[in-house]
Amino acid sequence: MIEVQHLTKRYGPVTAVDDVSFKAERGEILGFLGPNGAGKTTTMRVLTGYMPATDGKAIVAGYDVLEQPVEAKRRTGYLPETPPLYPDMTVEDYLAFCARIKGVPRLERAGRLQSVMEKTQIADVRKRHCGKLSKGYKQRVGLAQALLHNPDVLILDEPTAGLDPKQQNETRRLIKGLGGDHTIILSTHILPEVSQTCNRIVIINRGRVVAVDTPDNLTARLRGSETMYVQVDAMGADAEGTLSSVPGVTHVSQSDRRDGIVGYQVESEAGRDVRRQLASTVVGNGWGLLELRPMRMSLEEIFLQIITTEDAAAAPEAAPAEVTNE
């Protein structure tokens, strides 16, 4: 449905997107993840035909965006980073105008308008001027505009930015619900959002694709070893050496210490469960076992790990890329 081949975009001397390739199948929700300035917006702008690529090809719904822009655009809905609203127009007038330029047949317009306003829950502000809406409503009117012509492909640039947590959840649920019929690319720098909504993740950093995989596979791929968190009351003794000697344990490091109670991070060989031995060792020494739990790498850590290794490899002297989390 969406195919991007060796896409490159340069702004003068600056390369914003560098040889990016990926694919999205029909009905798939693809998450575009990367720090600010990684090239997410640029890639999306090329896909929507807003700007041409310097090199490479982008095919949307079977049409090359450069060769047959009008056909490709007819099948694409786009929500830019800032919702493109006319402040002097009412929500209803705005959507009617959008429906008209997107080629929704005259007789279907009223029906489509009604249905997208219900879907995005903006029917209550239909008579208000776009410029007077709150950020959350603006965002949803922008989303409504993208859905109007029932496009095959939806491209959403940070669709939940500026929404409160409740609205964020509703929007995510809405996007997830659209997944079956539409192919969706959504960009975000909010990690839980991708793991909740997306089937596949493209991690992009400094204009390059760093990883493409499902959220589960990404998590698994990066978990080379298992890590446990063990909190011990060792009555003043040093438990680190004892814990290291447990069979299967590869590395032990102290992570926190308070009033003689020490927390350790215990790494073990992959696929080997050392919880029983750890517990019996601690208890066997007469210490108090206060906590024992596996530490899962969150997507956040994976992401940070991927982009920091990438940055270190690319430019050792450069400062780590700025990452914004929520």
């Binding site: 700007m51 655009k73 830019p80 800032t82 493109p84 002097d88 997107k102 080629g103």
Partner: protein
């Protein structure tokens, strides 16, 4: 065509949703009214004098001595007002990001530009409509010929089209409306006075300069003459302005 009209309709509504349309039309009405009144007084005295000399009222021609000077003199108002109409056409869309909506909708650049052009022309036509009652009054009081008047309006529409196409182009170059308005005004003024130095130059240059002057071409229209020379000039000027706008929008895309 439907797409062009959709954009034109949106533009026109945009003018009337903001104070721009009312300010522009209001200012024009005040200035035109004053010009009309002043020239009417002048015309009145002239015809009195003619009558006093025994020539009779028939010696003065309403078309030639009142309507034509009114329109030729009031074109200067457009010089100030039309930049205000065109300044926001592109600048505003770029600043607010709505240009992303237009450029990612299934529209061609030409449809967007033609729509914006027609929208601005609509507002301009509304300004011209303000002058109709004044002229209508003359039909009530006197007996002017209507054909030259219709042709004058045609000429005014074409002349305004030239200004608007240049204004669109300049607006497409910048995000800043003040820059757009000042640059447009300067270009209009230059096109206005470009033939002032004509009589000081050689015959060839003189011809070129006279040909370039936008207002010079209006003269024949106000006499009630449709000369293809002037039609060609105005239409090619408009096409060129719109073409430049298209190039500018396209270049902007590549530059990103």
């Amino acid at each position: 065509m439907n797409n062009i009209l959709a954009i034109a309709h949106k533009e026109l509504k945009g003018y009337f949703a903001s104070p721009i349309a009312y300010v522009v039309i209001g200012l024009y009405a005040v200035m035109f009214g004053y010009f009309f009144y002043a020239l009417l007084l002048y015309f009145d005295r002239q015809s009195m004098q003619m009558a006093g000399l025994g020539g009779g009222g028939g010696a003065v021609n309403v078309n030639e001595q009142l309507i034509r000077p009114v329109f030729l003199n009031t074109t200067v108002i457009f010089l100030f007002i039309l930049p205000m109409v065109t300044m926001r056409t592109y600048s505003e869309e770029k600043r607010s990001g709505t240009i992303e909506l237009l450029l990612t909708a299934p529209l061609t650049d030409f449809q967007i530009i033609a729509g914006k052009f027609l929208g601005a022309m609509g507002l301009y036509a509304a300004m011209l409509a303000i002058t109709v009652p004044h002229i209508g009054l003359l039909f009530y009081l006197g007996n002017p010929e209507w054909v030259p008047i219709v042709i004058t309006y045609l000429g005014l529409l074409l002349m305004g089209g030239c200004f608007i196409s240049v204004g669109l182009f300049i607006s497409s170059l910048t995000k800043n409306q003040i820059v757009a308005v000042m640059a447009t005004f300067t270009v209009f003024l230059m096109l206005w006075v470009i033939n002032w130095i004509a009589s000081f130059t050689g015959p060839r240059t003189q011809e070129v300069l006279n040909y370039l002057s936008i207002t010079d071409h209006l003269d024949d229209f106000t006499r009630g003459v449709i000369d293809t020379k002037h039609l060609v000039y105005y239409l090619s000027f408009i096409s060129f302005g719109l073409y430049l706008t298209m190039r500018s929008v396209d270049t902007e895309r590549w530059r990103g």
